[in-house]
């Protein structure tokens, strides 16, 4: 076995995995507050990328301005979704909220298709595609940048959840009724979690849009993002980061070993196996919280 080659697979796998984490952090934010996996996170990510393109390529703003502006717009959109759609569902079965997010995903995909069409567009972040060598190991610069963004967001959210607003959001995730009883606005908290997830969607949309182009396929990131979120435990940001790395490495190394045997296509199988096995063997994921047994 060639150790340099194996390390290269593992490191690039880990970097790709962190890009899955970048996506999955958005899922975790919403799951924490609403107890549903947001099936429209893929759609939101795609919208985030399109909004950046609209501001930069169509309206002519520089990217350094277009991206933060898109984040602000998406922040507002996240709040809007809570206000218009979710608030009516308060107190309904969680499966209804899940179906709402599915409907929202279909809506977002349809809307982007109608407005921007189906042809793939590029973001042109300006990150060089020159090969970058760490010792003997080749890594992709855009993946490195994306992994850095994922880690920066991770740190930012860890700090955020220690602030007073962050603590209130965690309280909402624990118990709506108790939150209301001490005057926490649950509605505003849920809205904020959607708003933050929408900002994360801009980051994921830009990075993934740069890598694979901006088109409808961006919304399919949901499948891998969901796998990472479930493996991480759905409500743990740290879990999403670690699980992303694990999935990325397993997928990259595993596919290299298995592809010659099965003749390609083993990546999807590995992702499917991770998702199914997690749900079967460890439904709380790696870092998901168990509900505490009362003494």
């Amino acid at each position: 076995m060639d150790w340099v080659f194996l390390s290269e697979l593992a490191i690039n796998g880990a970097l790709t995995g962190l890009l899955y984490s970048l996506f999955a952090i958005g899922l975790v934010l919403i799951y924490k507050a609403s107890s549903v996996p947001n099936l429209s996170q893929g759609g939101l990510t795609m919208v985030g990328a399109y909004v950046v393109l609209a501001l930069s390529h169509d309206a002519g703003l520089p990217l350094w301005l277009a991206i933060p502006l898109a984040a602000v717009i998406m922040f507002g959109l996240g709040f809007g979704i809570e206000r218009v759609a979710l608030r009516r569902l308060a107190g309904r079965p969680v499966v209804m909220i899940l179906m709402l997010t599915l409907g929202l995903d279909i809506f977002l995909r349809g809307t982007t298709l109608a407005i921007w069409g189906g042809t793939s567009r590029s973001v042109d972040l300006g990150v060089s595609y020159e090969p970058l060598f760490l010792g003997d190991i080749f890594v992709s610069r855009i993946h490195l940048v994306g992994a850095g963004v994922a880690l920066a967001l991770f740190v930012a959210f860890m700090l955020f959840f220690r602030t007073r607003t962050g603590i209130k959001l965690r309280a909402i995730a624990d118990d709506y009724m108790a939150s209301w009883s001490v005057g926490i606005s649950v509605e505003r908290g849920v809205g904020l979690s959607w708003a933050l997830a929408s900002v994360v969607a801009v980051a994921a949309g830009v990075i993934w849009g740069e890598i694979q182009g901006v088109d409808q396929a961006l919304s399919l990131l949901l499948l891998k993002g969901l796998t990472v979120a479930v493996l991480g435990g759905l409500d743990s940001i740290l879990g999403a980061v670690i699980a992303g790395i694990i999935l990325g490495v397993v997928e990259n190394v595993g596919a290299d070993l298995l592809d010659p045997l099965v003749g390609g296509g083993s990546r999807e199988l590995i992702v499917a196996a991770v998702l199914i096995l997690t749900v079967m063997i460890r439904p709380h994921g790696l870092f998901g919280r168990h509900d505490i047994e009362r003494v």
């Binding site: 107190g91 603590i167 624990d174 009883s181 009362r294 003494v295």
Partner: protein, 270 residues
């Protein structure tokens, strides 16, 4: 005359009716007065309508698809029947809901932070926390452990402490003694009494444990089937034979003279 009464009562419920799901009439004309600065008990058996009465005051009915279909509730002379729950907390009404319900995955310290009113400064919050830890030294010891792993008594203390952070003028507690050992009930009730005296917080206490409750309150209301069936001073209720028979485990002669209001139609608790 009417205004004078308003000023004396921090809370006044007049013939309040509550409907759940637009069909289930849970309380049927409850009138309860809490004089400012006093501790009042709501007694009664399971399903009588005690929790519903508190939810009507705190506005938490909304979360259970309940609504006030008749009557009015005034707090410090203002009609609050239509005020949103979160704004009632801001006015000074805090409801410690049934079953403790601390934020389990947060530490006790974070539980207190979560309840901080908007605009409370960091130093004011810290001072508030220290005051609460003085009332409940057991919590201070465990302030950074996970709240879900506290004992039942500690969780109840935390739930009360968390309510105090909201700066209540009226503190409503729903069965704080439930499932706790007698010495803990005594400890917690003692602290409630201290809070009432030192902070001037008025207290509306829902209890099935009438014996313990009547030791610390000045008046009590007995609720049965969604109606107030008895109202009197704690002394009068303690010496009432029905109360004794069903709650205090005794059976002396009924003394109706000290009971202000007694409208028993059929035997309650049958």
């Amino acid at each position: 005359m009417q205004e004078k009464v308003e000023a004396q009562n921090i809370l006044s419920m007049n013939s309040v009716e509550v409907l759940y799901d637009n069909v289930m009439l849970a309380i049927k004309g409850v009138s309860v007065q809490v004089p400012t600065g006093e501790m009042i008990a709501l007694l009664g058996s399971n399903g009588a309508g005690k929790s519903t009465t508190l939810k009507a005051v705190s506005g938490l009915l909304k979360a259970e698809r309940g609504r006030i279909s008749r009557g009015e509730i005034t707090f410090q002379g203002t009609d609050i029947t239509e005020v949103l729950a979160q704004n009632r907390v801001g006015m000074g009404i805090c409801h410690v809901i049934e079953g403790r319900r601390v934020f389990e995955h947060l530490t006790p310290d974070e539980n207190l932070t979560a309840a901080a009113p908007r605009g409370m400064s960091r130093s004011a919050l810290n001072a508030e926390k220290e005051k609460i830890y003085d009332y409940f030294p057991r919590l201070a010891e465990r302030r950074n452990s996970q709240a879900g792993y506290l004992s039942g008594g500690e969780q109840q203390m935390l739930a009360i402490g968390r309510a105090l952070v909201t700066q209540p003028k009226l503190l409503m507690l729903d069965e704080p003694s439930l499932g706790l050992a007698p010495f803990l009930v005594e400890e917690i009730f003692g602290i409630l009494q201290k809070i009432n005296q030192e902070e001037g917080v008025s207290v509306l206490l829902v209890e099935q444990n009438a014996l313990a409750a009547l030791e610390i309150v000045s008046q009590g209301y007995l609720i049965e089937n969604g109606r107030v069936v008895m109202h009197g001073t704690a002394e009068a209720l303690k010496s009432n034979s029905d109360i004794q028979e069903f709650y205090l485990g005794g059976g002396e002669e009924t003394d109706f003279h000290n009971v202000k209001h007694y409208s028993r139609r059929k035997r309650w608790l049958s």
